[in-house]
Amino acid sequence: MVSVPGSGLLKGLAVTLRQMTRRSVTAHYPDALPELPPRSRGVIALIEENCTSCMLCARECPAWCIYIDSHKDVIPATTEGGKDKTRNVLDRFAIDFSICMYCSICVEACPFDALHWSPEFEYAELDIRELTHEKDRLREWMWTVPPPVALDPHAEPAKEIGVAEKAAVRRPTAPGDPS
């Protein structure tokens, strides 16, 4: 390859000129909202109904930014001489987003799928103390949580489904089965 001196310079000019005729790639953010991928870690949403106040998330959180208060309700026994049951009631669930580092450990740790990532990210406040969002606010974000991403075409089935299917296959040979 013979290279003409200066051809590189001309090539540079050509590249910029070609780029000028193309559409720019700037995202017009405040005017047009960005299309975030479904797994974006915007803010943590909470389904209060799923939460058992087990405190696992708060204990696993490396930043100690989850605050949980709960008390036990006593459910009187329904049958005569039966034992009273107790149930946890969530009084307060708050996350301090000024300390949260979006590590997702709480979401992973929750055994009852009460925490989810929502791609919403516009929750800035003028005062840092107001970044501690209480459970009603966390609940509202639940509406913005996208459905889980579909599995790859040839991927193994989701764990829960796989376990259920295996159980269904095993059942006929299980001892005590009529068949």
């Binding site: 310079l9 720019s24 700037t26």
Partner: protein, 318 residues
């Protein structure tokens, strides 16, 4: 009496052009550069595509506090921006726009313009020296070194075309210009344009202001209106350089219907050359100090001398 009115109108027109065309170039720079880099550029000031951005910038600069460093040489520091800006206004006065359309036709117009443009750089030197800041000083010294290096090919290239036209008058040069000079004086045109880029310290020859290394060179301590004047001087410098390139090498007002539309041709050519100035800024990285000097002394000066020799042969042969 009519002479005075005539002169007044000419001065007013030149002043208007001086205030409008650099802004136009600045706006084109905002937009063209943005698109070359795949972004959109300023969009909000003004209704259509942010046309009022530079006006808004001006308003912003005016509002800012006028700060002079305690250790600065106050007088020199304060007049430096004016020294940087005014020469370009004076230079515009003698640049012909159309047949008979010129602020003031001077017999030694070319000589005058080159001399005056040299003064503009003094403004940067003054700012660099008087700021009492090591970055400014370093920038100022770089300006000086760059000025020394590029003034020579700049003047030699201009001398070549003056020799070819047999006159120092800018109007005379345009009248003598013929299309085939594009080839004959081609080397000089390139040398003149490139050296001119270095004279007005535009990228890739913006070593003196190198905002990433020495903050902003001679302008480090400047803020508000004085800084705006320096920026305006840069754009005015682009306009003057483009106008000179147009007049000396691209045939000024020559074009179809040049008697009526001559001014339009000049304006279009000036804007086209200004666009190239912007384009080059986007396409090339900044030259290092040693590359910059080597390019001037080992590249441009020999080329300019070669062109001078070719021109001399041409003038004698025909």
């Amino acid at each position: 009496m009519t002479d005075w009115v005539d002169l007044g109108v000419r001065l007013a027109l030149v002043l208007a052009a001086f205030l409008v065309v650099p802004l136009l170039v600045g706006q084109v720079e905002h937009k063209a550069m943005a698109h070359m880099q795949g972004r959109v550029g300023p969009m909000y000031a003004g209704a259509f595509h942010g046309w009022a951005q530079l006006v808004a910038d001006g308003v912003k600069f005016v509002q800012k506090e006028d700060v002079v460093p305690a250790a600065a040489d106050r007088t020199v520091f304060k007049i430096a921006p004016a020294v940087a800006l005014l020469p370009y206004l004076v230079a515009l006065l003698v640049i012909p726009v159309g047949p008979g359309l010129v602020g003031q036709d001077l017999g030694v117009g070319l000589f005058f313009v080159l001399a005056v443009m040299g003064v503009g750089v003094i403004g940067s030197l003054m700012g660099g020296w008087s700021s009492a800041n090591k970055f400014s000083l370093l920038g100022g010294i770089r300006v000086a070194a760059q000025l020394m290096a590029y003034e020579l090919p700049f003047v030699l290239a201009a001398a070549s075309v003056a020799m070819a036209a047999g006159t120092l008058s800018l109007t005379g040069i345009v009248q003598a210009w013929e299309p085939w000079w594009l080839l004959w004086q081609g080397i000089a045109a390139v040398v003149f344009f490139v050296a001119g880029l270095a004279e007005v310290q535009r990228p890739p020859f913006d070593m003196p202001v190198a905002d990433a290394e020495i903050v902003f060179g001679p302008y480090t301590e400047y803020g508000g209106l004085r800084f705006a004047l320096f920026i305006l001087a840069e754009y005015a410098g682009i306009v003057v350089l483009s106008a000179l390139t147009t007049v000396l090498f691209l045939g000024g007002w020559h074009g179809p219907w040049e008697d009526q539309l001559g001014w339009l041709w000049t304006l279009l050519k000036v804007l086209a050359v200004s666009f190239v100035v912007i384009w080059v800024r986007v396409a090339y990285p900044r030259l290092r100090e040693d590359q910059l000097q080597r390019f001037a002394w080992q590249g441009l000066v020999p080329l300019a001398l070669l062109q001078l020799a070719i021109t001399a042969v041409g003038v004698v042969a025909w």
